[in-house]
């Protein structure tokens, strides 16, 4: 057969294709080193454009359409944005139309990477705070401190924790848009059954309460969380006085494997071993809301989306909220939320800046609060403004005064994977906390930015 001689080539091509395919997920999940270079190429002319726009302060003469990508939820937040917030902006700015695009959260990061590489990024996006350093570092975002002449006003008006996620390489690449943090949520019925009067204020109280809750029976747990990712373990590390990295984020040696951080992991490990902490934290995950509702888990850490959603599912369950139990480092929780950022590829930077200003105005921030978005402006904590916010925001705003952002570095996705794996190994008893954290430090340090000379 004539075709025989093609067969080896065909087989070879197939194998190559399959090998490339097998490698693909890794390349997709963590941006390959080539991506930033490519992006840089796409955006290299833009800085000049920026200067042009900055000096030419008059607003755009012709009608301009801004694209704004976001992951607001589809049931309440997006309709509110589209029917109330954007129309108000367009009424105030007749020359600017805003086309918002709702993107599923799980695919948002991937879609942005593709769009940036393809030169089709939107003008603006609402980014999870853990993504801003990555996109800023690859040159995809416009430095707002250069593009917006009044940037300092906004910088000073927002909470410092959420703001810190926007600062990378000497520039601010975004502004916080909404924020959240985790506080302790406890089931009141379980507490009274165990004879506990008040939520634990310190880690020692927490352990004493755990002993009482465990006495209720084998299928009662004091605390539950979904795993050992940073969102779950950081509040404990910080409250124990530990840290992920040095304050300038250049090394984790002596911080992630320092005595306090080790103590925090030892506390979690002991908790799991004694049956205080639900074994789901070892990596299997757990339906914390469901078990809290059934009274099998007494305490969890949750964010401001919890009260309205939980109430609709478990209307009869009585729960209370308290600050993160304090350890040697105080009561410190983790900051979540979103930033608003402008892309270098945007051709309408002045109009985009106008939309950022609008989204950060007190009115808009208070309006978005009605659909559960916690404001980022410090002035919202004044008693007059606080009265306009849902009651349950109070405890979260209180905790936000002592809350930190997860390490804002461009390699965060990989750093967090190493952290999560180390935590899982510790809680499953594969090596001591110290040994696992030493190992993690040796892998994380090369991924951190080099110290400035």
């Amino acid at each position: 057969m004539k075709s025989k001689k093609w067969l080896p080539l065909f087989v070879f091509m197939t194998i190559v294709a399959m090998l490339v395919g097998a490698c693909a997920p890794a390349a997709v999940a963590t941006p390959a080193p080539t991506t930033p270079a490519q992006v840089q190429k796409e955006t290299v002319i833009v800085p000049q454009e920026v200067e042009k726009v900055v000096t030419a302060t008059p607003p755009p003469s012709g009608p301009v359409t801004l694209t704004f990508w976001h992951g607001y939820n589809a049931d309440t937040e997006t309709p509110f944005l589209e029917k109330t917030v954007i129309p108000a902006f367009e009424a105030a700015h007749p020359n600017i139309k805003v086309q918002d695009v709702n993107i599923p959260y799980d695919q948002f990061h991937q879609k942005l990477l593709t769009a940036i590489a393809g030169g089709t990024a939107p003008d603006l996006a609402r980014l999870d705070i853990i993504w801003t350093p990555e996109f800023g570092d690859m040159g995809a975002l416009a430095p707002l401190d250069e593009v917006m002449s009044d940037f300092a006003t906004y910088k000073d008006a927002v909470f410092p924790g959420p703001l810190s996620t926007n600062f990378i390489g000497g520039h601010y690449y975004g502004l916080p848009l909404d924020t959240n943090t985790r506080v302790l949520v406890y089931n009141k019925d379980v507490f009274s059954a165990a004879g506990i009067e008040n939520p634990p204020a310190t880690v020692d109280d927490f352990l004493a309460d755990c002993a009482k809750i465990k006495a209720l029976g084998a299928n009662h747990w004091c605390f539950g969380d979904g795993g050992t990712y940073a969102w779950a373990v950081d509040p404990w590390i910080w409250s124990f006085g530990g840290a992920m990295t040095s304050p300038d984020y250049t090394t984790s040696t002596g911080y992630l494997n320092g005595a306090q951080t080790v103590a925090a992991y030892q506390f979690l490990k002991d908790g799991v071993d004694k049956g205080y902490i639900h074994p789901g934290i070892k990596g299997g995950g757990v339906d914390t809301w469901g078990l809290l509702g059934k009274g099998q888990i007494a305490m969890i850490l949750e964010g401001p989306w919890f009260p309205p959603s939980f109430k609709s599912q478990f209307p009869d369950v009585k729960y209370g909220m308290a600050l993160m139990p304090a350890g040697q480092g105080g009561s410190i929780s983790v900051v979540g939320g979103e930033d608003i950022a402008m892309f270098q590829q945007s051709k309408n930077k002045e109009a985009a800046a106008e939309f950022i200003r609008f989204m950060l105005s007190l009115d808009t921030q208070l309006q978005m609060a009605t659909v559960g978005q916690m404001p980022v402006l410090t002035e919202t904590t004044s008693s007059e403004n606080l009265a306009k916010l849902p009651d349950y925001f109070g405890i979260f705003l209180e905790q936000l005064k002592n809350a930190q952002a997860r390490t804002p570095v461009s390699n965060w996705t990989r750093v967090e994977q190493i952290l999560t794996d180390a935590g899982t190994a510790i809680l499953n008893g594969k090596g001591t906390p110290q040994a696992n954290l030493d190992d993690a430090v040796s892998k994380i340090d090369p991924l951190l930015p080099k110290p400035a000379q």
Partner: protein, 278 residues
């Protein structure tokens, strides 16, 4: 009285089959039951199969949610057009591969098969650039083009296997009576191949109707989105109303049901064909 021993003898088979059927249908029943529960933010364990106060609220809310009906129409347009195009083109190609001898025939066919081995996700960035170059991003016709193109190799492969086992004599008879190859294709091959065509149509339609990654990547304009994206949007970052997700998924299943049951009598015959040839 001979019936009883036979049933007795076969009963283990029935028990196994019923157990298998229950396992297969359980997620579906769970989906229906969840879709009838309003405000379901938590996946319950153990699942409660009979809702305490069932309501159709989720279905109404999903159907009337942002642009859902528009997305439904977009999906219907893309899936139906792509299925028609893909089945037509691959049937013609498969006929050529099955019946004609031409230079490079086997090679071309192997290359076509080689395409099957390349996972879609590898080529998504080049495809993205191609679509941008052609100006077909943010266009439903762009999706039709991509869907049709990516499905051709599998469909051609399946149909060629079927066409090859049709008897040559019929076609020779047509040629002797003065018919052309087009007559053979339209009046002999296609009518004889309904099982294979039905199978290929169903698989293609289901694939196009459910496709998520390419639709998400190539379409930025909310007005041009398809149904899988609308369903994914019901899953929030912090809390998901699962009742809504399941209700939306059930609505999305209706066209597949109609399509499947409409072609079912051909479909079962078609499944075995690939087993002998291809």
């Amino acid at each position: 009285m001979r019936l009883r021993p036979r049933i007795f003898k076969k009963s283990p088979v029935y028990v196994a089959l019923i157990a298998g059927a229950l396992v297969m249908i359980f997620p579906f029943i769970w989906m229906i039951s969840s879709s009838l529960k309003p405000n379901l933010y938590v996946i319950e364990y153990p699942p409660q199969l009979i809702p305490s106060n069932p309501s159709l609220e989720n279905f109404l809310e999903a159907w009337n949610a942002n642009n859902f009906q528009q997305y439904f129409r977009n999906s219907a347009f893309v899936a139906i057009t792509s299925t028609l195009l893909s089945v037509t083109i691959s049937a013609m190609a498969a006929y050529a591969f099955a019946r004609f001898k031409f230079p490079g025939q086997e090679t071309t066919f192997y290359v076509l098969l080689g395409v099957l081995m390349v996972p879609n996700i590898i080529v998504i960035v080049p495809q993205f650039f191609l679509m941008k170059f052609l100006g077909l991003r943010n266009s439903l016709w762009g999706l039709v083009l991509i869907y049709t193109a990516t499905s051709l190799s599998l469909n051609t492969f399946l149909l060629r296997g079927f066409f090859e086992q049709l008897p040559h004599e019929l076609e020779e008879a047509v040629l002797i009576d003065g018919g052309s190859y087009l007559t053979i294709f339209a009046n002999v091959i296609l009518p004889l191949s309904t099982p294979a065509l039905a199978t290929v149509s169903i698989f293609s339609f289901m694939g196009f109707w459910d496709e998520f990654v390419m639709a998400l990547t190539f379409i930025d304009d909310p007005a041009k989105r398809t149904l899988p994206i609308a369903i994914a949007l019901f899953q929030g970052q912090h809390g998901t109303q699962w009742g809504l997700v399941f209700a939306a998924s059930l609505i999305a299943l209706i066209p597949i049901f109609i399509f499947f049951f409409g072609l079912q009598k051909y479909f079962v015959g078609g499944l075995t064909t690939g087993a002998f040839k291809g």
